[in-house]
Symmetry: C2
Subunit: 212 residues, 2 copies
């Protein structure tokens, strides 16, 4: 089955996954749309609308089975189909992601990392090998890579992204702080801007306003 | 002047700042709402609506003065009022933020970091002192801290957040992966979930769909 679902619904799905995991861990087996909505700050009708995009998962008057709903959303996100990932840039931030980020829980498998620095190339970080960036193109030819995590300096961001697109990479998870502008519409880019969330927070702190 | 602006508009403001910085760096002095919209993927009317929340900054038939608009939005975000920040957790991720994140560009000043590990306490990371977490409460009593960056293990997240709220902290930038549920509505919490953006990206990659 294929659905054409709005980007806003897709963006909310990981939040459902997280909340359902919290409920499962607490031993909750079923939940009404109104209670789930209350916990997540959505209206019951918003919850029903979101989940109807995937055929529902709920029964009128019964609510949602937490485990089934979790499986349904994970299925909709395609989490059971593993994505191969590599990281380019094993500096502090790349290192932190390799060590702490739970790629497997997101349905991704980290194959290896790439860097240019002699004191990083050849070492293993939390079991992940760091290769020289000169071997990147041949690695991409020989391995299927779905997602490239970019954690290299800003000055290298655009040229590296162009190279990746030429090599057929379709997913770029971009932590460089540069908004990558890639013309090829088949490439999915997630530009992560940590500063945006601090600036947004600053607005509320400075104005002494609660968030909606 | 005080405005009551929707959370969605506030969330978009940092994107305007970034795009206007790109334009300034390229020597662009004025821009129409339709061209700015094209570059940012918004309609001209969306742009005008967003910026009207702050009184406009634009003149009919002339467009926006890039520098003035940037100043206006920065003012709306309150970026000129410096926020004092500390980091709790100087492990890989905290270390990466201390080293790489441009706090000053977000109108924040990083005072120091806290950790519990003997090989971190007492050292300086990129000029930032790491203190023992035992000294946290007295530090908060003696210094005005607006934002606490939480980069400590998940198991410590809830208890630390409770302590911070009791000490009067009003801003928590939370990288622990645990959704902090804080009853006090005067506290602003930004829960950063990097996994959400990877999961969202995975959806598009697996379904071979472009994003809207």
């Amino acid at each position: 089955m294929k659905y054409r679902i709005s980007a806003n619904v897709i963006k909310r799905l990981p939040r459902y996954i997280r909340q359902l995991d919290v409920l499962s861990a607490a031993g909750v087996e079923k939940i009404s749309s109104s209670e789930l909505g209350r916990q997540m700050g959505f209206t019951a009708s918003q919850i029903r609308q979101d989940l109807n995009c995937f055929g529902g998962f709920g029964q009128q008057g019964y609510g949602y089975n937490v485990k089934q709903l979790r499986e349904g959303i994970a299925g909709a996100l395609g989490m059971e189909k593993n994505l191969n990932a590599i990281i380019i840039g094993a500096g502090n931030f790349g290192h932190a992601l390799i060590t702490n980020f739970k790629f497997e829980e997101c349905g991704a498998h980290l194959l290896c990392a790439f860097d240019i620095s002699p004191d990083k190339v050849g070492i293993k970080v939390a079991g992940t090998e760091v290769r020289h960036v000169d071997t990147l193109v041949s690695f991409l030819e020989e391995n299927h890579v779905d997602v490239v995590v970019l954690t290299l300096p800003q000055s290298e961001a655009d040229s590296t992204a162009e190279l990746l697109v030429r090599c057929g990479v379709k997913g770029i998870w971009n932590f460089t702080g540069v908004d990558l502008d890639i013309a090829d519409e088949s490439v999915v880019v997630e530009n992560v801007h940590l500063s945006d969330s601090l600036l947004t927070m600053g607005y509320y702190l400075r104005n002494g306003e609660g968030k909606d």
